[in-house]
């Protein structure tokens, strides 16, 4: 067997193992629990401590590719805000954001507790605007100027929950669910640093380490949800066994498999090195 064929075979075995590692826990859930990390608790507390009637904004700054990680966060936060009697505005700095928001509201309304939530009264989907940070800056002056209509074309004045909202300062909290740029960073720099509105956020697991410096004593970022695990922790906090909780088993098993693969790869290299050293000794002798 040539080296190339062996590499291809090894790769296929790795792919098959990973496929099984993801599939089997989805079919037969294990039910591993996980502790809630402090940054997730901070994000939860921000919404939990906002009085009823307050308006929160969720910016859907992601697209379909990261839906598995981001959507459970959005649904959990919408359900949490509604359970506390708050209203939710959805905006988007990414073109596919309005669809993500519509799906999240739809999913949250499937919960019997929230089936009566009314569009325009309890939530609105304002849609996508180009411009990234500049759009956020403009929201600091006037929401209505940036969003004269919602994503379905309804005029601002026909949406009762927006009646008294002028600019960012009228919001109780902001959460940017962000899979890249533009996104969470823009909301921190303008909404929090300029207008002093509490900002929390959610990112993919791979981006989370880059945002941790913003969780600091100045409260630039009030907590952070990083990836599926954070989403499952949030679901645990609101007492829900949602999609993130179910998928966490699969992710955990896949992570363990990757660790095992790293170990096997290292052992293989170590054995090869030892054999090479032995061969060299024999040749020299």
């Amino acid at each position: 067997m040539s080296l190339n064929t062996s590499t291809i075979l090894e790769r296929r075995i790795v792919y098959l193992l990973l496929f099984l590692a993801v599939l089997l826990p989805l079919l037969f859930p294990i039910g591993w629990g996980s502790d809630v990390s402090p940054v997730v608790k901070m994000s939860y507390d921000l919404i939990d401590q906002t009085p009823a009637g307050g308006i929160g904004l969720i910016s859907f700054d992601y697209e379909a590719s990261t839906i598995t990680e981001m959507q459970p966060m959005a649904v959990a936060q919408i359900e949490h805000a509604w359970s506390r009697g708050q209203k939710v505005i959805a905006t988007a700095l990414w073109p596919q954001g309005p669809q993500m928001a519509a799906q999240s509201f739809e999913e949250a309304k499937r919960n019997p507790l929230f089936k009566d939530k009314e569009y325009g009264v309890d939530y609105v989907n304002l849609g996508y605007k180009v411009g990234g940070m500049v759009t956020v800056q403009a929201l600091g002056s006037s929401f209505k100027d940036v969003y004269p209509k919602d994503s379905s074309g309804r005029a601002w004045d026909t949406l009762p929950m927006l009646k008294d909202l002028k600019n960012l300062k009228g919001l109780s909290w902001i959460c940017s669910l962000s899979a890249g740029e533009p996104g969470l960073k823009d909301w921190i720099m303008i909404a929090h640093d300029v207008h002093n509105v509490p900002v929390t956020g959610g990112t993919t697991a791979v981006s989370a380490p880059g945002f941790l410096p913003y969780v600091n004593n100045h409260g630039q970022l009030t907590g952070l949800l990083g990836g599926l695990k954070a989403a499952s922790e949030y679901e645990a906090l609101i007492g829900k066994k949602g999609p993130a909780t179910t998928k966490m088993d699969a992710q955990s098993v896949a992570h363990i498999l990757i660790l095992l693969l790293i170990a096997v790869g290292n052992i293989k290299v170590w054995v090869r090195k030892r054999n090479n050293a032995k061969n060299t000794e024999v040749t020299n002798a």
Partner: protein, 232 residues
């Protein structure tokens, strides 16, 4: 002249934005508001430019029958289909040229645009992103090899963070008493993320920010001119 006018405009716009940060009052606040509106309008046009560029690039590949031209054809057909569906029946609550399309909605359950989005684009995009897991698994097996002291440190922290971010890691060390909580894998993982990681991320952030300030000044002062195009 062709180069000097854009340079003067960039200088004035840049200067105005900087001044408005320090004097956030009239007339600067109003001027900046106007510039922000201009930016959003210009950024909107960039979407149109992007679409035109996409069609032009794909058309060239198809007309010259370049390698894998079939994929480019598929891209253009998919693009045209989604635009036609959106234009004819609209999306979500928005009507299209043929109204709300009640008949087709009763057949598909959703408007064609929404149906395609939910049942084609979402699963396809998620699949593409999920494929990364297979590459990561394969790369971990072949490339994550301990060779030096530094790679050893990296490996140890990676193992702690990976295990700490799984339910398995929680279960594995949950027996450790509360007084030694720091040795529980999730707590240890959080410690690594919050202290060594954040310190390094802050250093990267500060360096990147200094770099951005430097390149912004170069553009405002007209030293950096590559954004104007051309070879000078």
């Amino acid at each position: 002249m062709k180069r000097n006018i854009p340079l003067i405009l960039a200088f004035l716009a840049g200067l105005l934005m900087i001044v408005s940060e320090f004097i956030p009052h009239r007339p600067f606040s109003n001027m900046v508001e106007t510039l922000e509106n201009w930016f959003m309008i210009i950024a909107g046009f960039s979407i149109v430019l992007g679409l035109a560029s996409l069609l032009q690039m794909n058309y060239q590949k198809i007309s010259t029958k370049a390698e894998n031209w079939g994929y480019h054809l598929a891209c253009v057909i998919a693009f045209a289909l989604i635009v036609i569906m959106g234009a004819l029946w609209g999306m979500e609550d928005q009507p299209g040229l043929l109204g709300q399309g009640e008949k087709i909605v009763s057949w598909l359950g959703k408007k064609p645009f929404d149906y395609t989005y939910d049942n084609a684009l979402v699963p396809l995009s998620a699949t593409m992103f999920s494929l990364l897991a297979f590459f990561i698994a394969s790369a971990a097996y072949r490339a994550f090899i301990i060779r030096t002291f530094e790679s050893n440190l990296l490996m140890i922290s990676a193992v702690i963070v990976i295990l700490g971010r799984t339910g398995f890691g929680t279960m594995l060390t949950s027996w450790i008493p509360e007084s030694y909580r720091i040795w529980q894998l999730p707590v240890l993982a959080d410690f690594i993320m919050q202290y060594p990681n954040t310190a390094a991320q802050r250093a990267i952030l500060i360096s990147a920010s200094l770099g951005i300030i430097g390149s912004s000044l170069r553009i405002i002062l007209g030293i950096e001119r590559s954004y104007l195009g051309g070879d000078k």
